[in-house]
Symmetry: C2
């Protein structure tokens, strides 16, 4: 069912510093920051030859990553995103298997339908599935 | 400098259960477990179309992931691995930039030279660099 690893999302307290580090010390292809007000984050996309890294920092008062950064002030890997062909079919299969899916599919930061899976059911890992 | 994302490593408390979940509920291509006694882990490789996921569980008394699982009993993302062309050049560049590199290059679980970078210097993320 799962296909490509679409991205790894890393929450960071200082987006400019993290972006400069990936562009400088790590020598990666780093894009300018983009505000995603509907998702409560500002994102920097890092393009690797085979996938993407997304550096996230909170935007606004109700950011979904604010709590994570309170618990992990230095930052950390927040989630990984796998691609699926059909988000509704994926959701139905996971629910049938007894996994906790966090809500109905919604439009994610890339303009495509996504769901999130409960980390307690997946080895402490927050998994996003995106209909590619 | 960094190239492909070689793998994402997820530490898990129950390797058989995690492997069964990735093969079943998530429908991925999951290989049989491999003991890596020199690295203190048993590994299950999951092949995605563009990269790999490695499920790790401790092997033996001195596993480098035992402490992580004590702090994260459900498991969690342990590290991400980026490929580089020249591990010595990568190490020298990072040291020159002031980043803490954890020791000299050594032969990693794939039989290739690797170094690890201090998570405190990289947004709370343990980064492995592997000479591809």
């Amino acid at each position: 069912m799962i296909g490509r690893l679409n991205h790894v999302a890393i929450a960071v307290p200082d987006l400019a510093a993290a972006a400069a580090q990936y562009a400088g010390a790590l020598g990666a292809d780093v894009a300018p920051p983009q505000d995603e007000p509907a998702h409560g984050v500002t994102v920097v996309f890092i393009t690797l030859p085979n996938t993407k890294i997304e550096l996230l920092t909170p935007l606004g008062d109700k950011s979904p990553i604010a709590g994570f950064l309170e618990k992990n002030p230095s930052g950390g890997i927040h989630h990984i995103c796998y691609e699926v062909v059909d988000i509704q079919a994926a959701r139905a299969k996971l629910v049938a298997e007894g996994a906790r899916v966090l809500g109905e599919p919604r439009i994610g930061a890339h303009g495509k339908p996504v769901i999130f899976l409960h980390p307690k059911d997946f080895n402490g890992t927050l998994i996003e599935l995106e209909q590619a």
